[in-house]
Symmetry: C2
Subunit: 375 residues, 2 copies
């Protein structure tokens, strides 16, 4: 039997390292496979930051300047500013090569085809090539989670596609002959945990307590998916075959964990793919989903797992067993945490909870100032 | 010109109220359209909570009980326990109607076909019909965000499909003739903001500064999508046509906001659909995305918007204008917030920031203990 930390370390040994290329428009929430360098200057060339008149320094000596041309956003700027002349430019437009500064139109008096400068500005109003992002700069690090900011950078440097890690595919199998007559719950809560981690769930269906059928389903699953998760068949009942099956077709990574609920969890490796076998009781299964699978899936997807914690007092003392970690579901009300657990076979034990109290292996009594992991 | 709060109130007046039915497996992250009541008892009938022997109270008087039958999970339990007899039952299996309690197998001594009870348990080990969720209970409220816990409830009460609010479809249009020659950024950052809010982005493309073409694109968009967002063409340049266009084909909801960056934002209503026109500068556009669109989209989708805040000191005093709200991008380092803003035309002004300092309309100087909205 392993501790919770040992189990997590084993599960976090599996990552999905395939590279795929995605459109920038589709890249939100993905993780960068490589460092990204800019191959261009941003902006690509000098631009105007205002609507106004492009002039040369020489032109400052003139009382009046003749407007010789107009450059709108998107127009080329292949002309030059001639002596005694200026050129009207728009915000964001290209500017003539010999532009020294741009006078905002509100700082000029315009009469027919000429302007008179009535006020200078401190800066030149030129958005210099490469000011935002210089060419060859490293703009994003490998393993960055692509959000709206990273997308802004990638778009600015002109990338249409980007290499990211492939999304881990998690196969889910529900085991148990009783599932033909009761409402099957675990595959649905586990599917949600997979989605919460941003991975791709694939439900393989419900399989009865048959060594042959379960074995066949798992052998097929490990060929196609990155991670396989089963629920049910892990106890010591007459028809709990999961441990026997995984032992015979693969290597056991750990058997049981020193944590409650969910102690009968075990994992194996079949054809290099991890297979995690959860207990069938609905609350135990979902607690294992939070405690072990969510961090595992995020890690497999190269993403960060972070618990959202609050501190609260428990409504009553909770007594735990030394050496066993307890994930104790609680309902928060007016800043007090009330026990929500009613039995590992009841979905309301966890579905009505707001958080899990993580009572560590060396704690035996908890009551005041307890850290609660919001779920 | 409206205040930031007034603008948000106007934008939050638009919600997407269409009802759609989705599979429970696909319901993660959706929002319940109706209150949900359970039409069944969970569990549907009495079950055993242990592997053991179902007995009647009368059987407690016997020294030995003969094992007359076995009920495995999924088997029917249509027999009765006869005097002097017991029936082997599995965890989660149905139990005979006249069962009074179940003795766990580890509390018995088994010899050939009989058992002797050596230890009693406090409880009956019967998982009574309806204990988890009684029939006709309200189990989930309308507008609940469907997470793994809600899915656990929905699955337990046997629902395969559920009615949810339809996902708002947000059309994105980029306006500006210059976009043919520079890397277009805003449609990509806005697409990401739409996804961040869990809505569905639809990119309509880039349209040049042409009244006819922009008008046509918007008229088409409002027929198909719930919200239309444009960027570019909102300033006072010669070819900034957006305000003129929306004024002519719809009603203006507000024109400009007392907040920086992003002051030129405005919105209108065309064919009852909201259209929000953002400035084209990449940093202003994304700040408006965070400040106004993210809350608007979440609200439209019947979801909650919550800022994640930290408190930090600024590296230098920030001076703001009275009556104007400032969204000031900062980079956090060792607990100090450094200014990240370099100009509204630079993506790095916002993409390199960790948060936005929300300097309210009545603050003119901020430095210590500043609330920073993590982005």
């Amino acid at each position: 039997m392993k501790t919770a930390d040992e189990v997590q370390n084993i599960l976090n040994g599996f990552t999905c390292n395939r590279e795929v290329s995605v459109e920038i428009y589709e890249s939100y929430g993905r993780v960068l496979f490589d460092d990204v360098y800019s191959k261009v200057d941003v902006p690509l060339c000098d631009k105007s930051t205002v609507d106004g008149y492009a002039i040369t320094n020489e032109g400052l000596n003139n009382d009046f300047l003749v407007i010789s041309d107009e450059i709108h956003a998107g127009d080329p700027a292949d002309m030059l500013i001639n002596p005694g002349k200026c050129i009207w430019v728009a915000t964001g437009s290209n500017i003539p090569k010999n532009t020294d500064r741009i006078i905002p139109f509100e700082n000029t008096i315009n009469s027919e085809n000429t302007i008179r400068i009535v006020k200078m500005t401190k800066n030149s109003n030129i958005f210099k090539k490469g000011t935002d992002i210089p060419k060859n700069t490293k703009v994003l690090d490998k393993n960055t989670l692509i959000d709206e900011k990273a997308i802004g950078i990638l778009a600015s440097i002109g990338m249409d596609k980007i290499n990211v890690y492939d999304t881990p595919k998690v196969a889910i199998l529900s085991v148990g002959s009783e599932l033909s007559e009761i409402n099957e719950v675990n595959s649905k809560t586990l599917t949600a945990i997979v989605r919460k981690a941003g991975c791709e769930p694939v439900f393989l269906g419900v399989v009865e307590d048959s060594i042959e059928k379960i074995t066949s389903a798992i052998k097929n699953a490990v060929l196609q998916y990155d991670i396989v998760v089963t629920s049910g068949g892990t106890s010591k009942g007459k028809k709990d075959y999961m441990f026997e099956i995984i032992s015979s077709i693969g290597d056991i990574l750990f058997h049981k964990v020193k944590s409650i609920p969910g102690m009968p969890i075990f994992a194996g490796k079949v054809s290099e793919k991890p297979i995690i076998c959860l207990p069938g009781n609905v609350a135990s299964c979902l607690v294992c989903g939070y405690a072990y699978l969510l961090p595992m899936f995020l890690n497999a997807a190269h993403k960060t797992f972070k618990r959202e914690l609050v501190i609260a007092d428990l409504s009553e003392e909770f007594n735990s067993e030394l050496g066993i970690k307890h994930y104790f579901p609680v309902k928060l009300k007016d800043g007090i945490a009330y026990p929500a657990f009613r039995g590992s076979n009841m979905i309301t034990s966890i579905a009505n909870a707001d958080g899990l109290v993580d009572v560590s292996e060396n704690e035996v009594k908890v009551r005041k100032n307890v850290k609660i992991w919001l779920i």
